[in-house]
């Protein structure tokens, strides 16, 4: 068992007796789960629903990738294709990547990390799960029965007048999901401000909490705008009054402005938690304090702020004026600086460390590599001169999959593997999990690297058929996708397996110093038997002392 090779963690409570009361066995029955206000149980509920969504989104796109094996399209009709990638985009963004890290990992860890018994508003927390589930079910129904073919961007006037598909129900679902993440954000912000354990000053907070704070900040201020934009779109579609439809005197760019005012910050809603996770995992497995804590902490807030200033970089060739384009391009570069700071600090953290390659670490190293690559291509897109060529080509597709799949999904996997023993008290198979990490990494490159090339060669996105000279790259990409698929099914298997047969871990298998590890795994209902008093920063691996050890 690899944990043996780890340094003996700070004085560790003895192996807990199996029947020790924890949040899982404190009460039984479906009702006790569906009505719970325990943030840990809600996190588990989210974990299940989010995973289902991911699989659905993945299956949808797997069909797309198969279809794109041949230039004229191998599998489905044009309309089906359009509905498939829309379904993929909508599910993956609004129902997987946006909620995944905050609602699952954040919900579970944040109160533990700040030494609180629960979030500030547990009932609202439960409510947001229900909003998510109802919204999700509703949207799924809309997309599976008739479907939507607008793309996840819902550009007017196509979405508001031209298309014949199920736009309005889909939008309703999205608005619900939006409010779900809004309420989660509200909970996190308030909790971080008011429920910190005694002695837990802002600069003793783990970076993960800072990241969550930034994320919540963004969803609080951006979601309402999206909600209203979508509501206006629905009304326009229902009543045929053109706020966005030029035929009726409206301005289609207004919708794009409103949509991206949410959706650009939303991409940082998706990545910030990942950055937080990595900032927890790398120090733990390098046995090093995070390098440049304050800079990393503040860069999270900087990203949260700057992310609101760049949205029109999605509209460089959409017909905005020259002046607007110049301003937004310039600002888009600013937002890259804090990301740079983080990348460099993660790298510096490894320096002179004592690095162990447990699965979470593998995933997180993968994150840093792929995020950097994806981010750097983001710079290409932010450069006006290049964007006029690659806009809406597969270059963009590759860019954001590098960050979202290569980056965020990897980080999420890392976090899940890191906190899995915390959640379940069980350890998964190191061998299989490392294999999975490797497969995902390889499959990923094979899937999305070719898309940069085919993109620069000019293959537009959302094409159900393409000109022959693009075929070679598409075949490669499809091949990669199937490897990727396997890579994602594996964890499903061994994690579920570990639930029953995985060996019990101690409270702190990784020998981490964070507060969340200073209680039993799985934690008791009230998180801490005695409210901890914090006396030091989160990453004192050189002394091996936990945050609450004198």
């Amino acid at each position: 068992m690899t944990t043996a090779t780890l340094l003996p963690p700070a004085p560790q409570p003895a192996e807990p007796p199996a029947e020790r009361s924890n949040y899982l066995n404190v009460s039984y029955g479906v009702v006790s789960w569906l009505l719970t206000k325990d943030h840990k149980r809600i996190a588990i509920l989210y974990l299940i629903s989010v995973t289902v969504m991911f699989l659905l989104g993945g299956v949808a796109i797997s069909i797309v990738r198969l279809h794109l094996m041949t230039p004229q399209g191998a599998l489905v009709s044009a309309d089906t294709y359009n509905r498939l990638f829309t379904m993929h985009g909508v599910i993956m963004v609004f129902f997987f990547l946006v909620p995944v890290a905050p609602a699952v990992l954040g919900n579970f860890c944040l109160p533990l990390m700040i030494g609180a018994k629960d979030l500030a508003f547990p009932r609202i927390n439960l409510l947001s799960w229900y909003l998510y589930v109802i919204g999700g079910a509703w949207t799924l129904w809309a997309m599976l029965t008739e479907g939507v073919d607008t793309g996840w961007t819902f550009y007017a006037p196509y979405s508001s007048q031209a298309t014949h598909y199920n736009v309005v129900p889909t939008l309703i679902g999205l608005v619900l999901a939006g409010f779900s993440s809004l309420f989660t954000g509200l909970n996190f912000i308030v909790s971080t401000h008011w429920l910190r354990a005694p002695g837990l000053t802002w600069f003793r907070l783990p970076i993960f909490v800072w990241a969550m704070y930034g994320t919540s900040f963004i969803s609080l201020l951006a979601v309402p705008v999206l909600a209203m934009a979508l509501i206006l779109l629905m009304l326009e579609r229902l009543l045929h009054i053109g706020i966005f439809d030029p035929a009726l005197g409206g301005d289609p760019l207004l919708f794009q402005h409103l949509f991206w005012f949410y959706s650009h910050p939303a991409v940082y809603i998706m990545i910030l938690p990942g950055m937080g996770i990595v900032s927890e995992v790398i120090p733990c497995f390098a046995r090093k304090a995070l390098f440049g804590y304050t800079f990393v902490a503040f860069s999270s807030l900087a990203i949260a702020f700057l992310s609101f200033l760049v949205w029109a970089h999605h509209m460089f060739v959409a017909g905005i004026t020259l002046y607007a384009a110049l301003i937004f391009s310039c600002l888009s570069f600013l937002v890259a600086v804090p990301s740079a700071i983080k990348v460099f600090n993660w790298t510096a953290t490894l320096y002179k460390g004592s690095i162990a390659f447990e699965t979470p670490m593998l995933f997180c190293l993968g994150f840093v590599a792929l995020f950097t690559a994806g981010g750097l291509t983001g710079l290409f897109l932010a450069t006006l001169g290049v964007d006029i060529h690659v806009h809406d080509t597969y270059f963009v597709i590759a860019h954001f999959h590098f960050i979202m799949v290569g980056g965020m999904v990897m980080a999420y996997m890392g976090g899940l593997h890191f906190w899995w023993p915390k959640m379940t008290g069980r350890m998964y198979s190191q061998w299989w999990s490392r294999l999975a990490a490797l497969i995902i990494f390889v499959g990923f490159f094979l899937t999305f690297l070719p898309q940069f090339i085919v993109g620069y060669n000019g293959m537009p996105r959302r094409y159900y058929q393409y000109v022959p000279e693009f075929q070679v790259w598409n075949v490669l990409s499809s091949a990669g996708a199937s490897i990727l698929a396997v890579g994602y099914v594996l964890p499903l298997a061994y994690l579920i397996y570990s639930l029953r047969y995985g060996p019990r871990t101690g409270n702190n298998p990784w020998g981490a110093t964070g507060l969340e590890w200073q209680t039993a795994s799985p934690p008791p209902r009230d998180n801490f038997d005695v409210t901890p008093t914090v006396v030091r920063g989160p990453y004192e691996y050189d002394t091996g002392k936990a945050q609450n050890e004198p």
Binding site: H193, L221, V225, L253, H257, F261, F308, L309, W311, A312, I320, T321, L322, Y323, A324, I327, F328
Partner: protein
């Protein structure tokens, strides 16, 4: 929760001012002005009124600094939304749509 107890008269006075301002803003709308000025006048007065309500009625005046931050942030973000969007709208048609320009 507001720590300090505000005398009732303050509230009454504030209300009177608010009502007066309402009358004023309506009055202004009868003065022939170019559209821009009407908007300007209307919004300035509205801002005044809003400030009063937030400071006195919502007890922002006696609230912790944190509350102030929230208020300032929401104002700031409103400004971001408006100013950056109007970088597009206000420069529409500034450059002629033809060769040589």
């Amino acid at each position: 929760m507001s720590t300090k107890l505000v005398p009732v008269n303050t509230y009454i006075v504030v209300l009177v001012i608010l009502l007066a301002l309402t009358v004023l803003t309506v009055a202004v709308s009868f003065v022939p002005l170019p559209p821009a000025d009407h908007v300007a006048a209307g919004l300035t007065i509205a801002t005044l009124k809003a400030t009063l309500v937030v400071l006195i009625f919502m007890h922002a005046l006696h609230s912790p600094r944190l509350t102030w931050c929230v208020i300032l942030v929401s104002i700031a973000w409103l400004l971001i939304l408006f100013s950056l969007t109007y970088t597009d709208y206000l420069t529409r048609g500034a450059l002629p749509q033809m060769p040589g320009h």
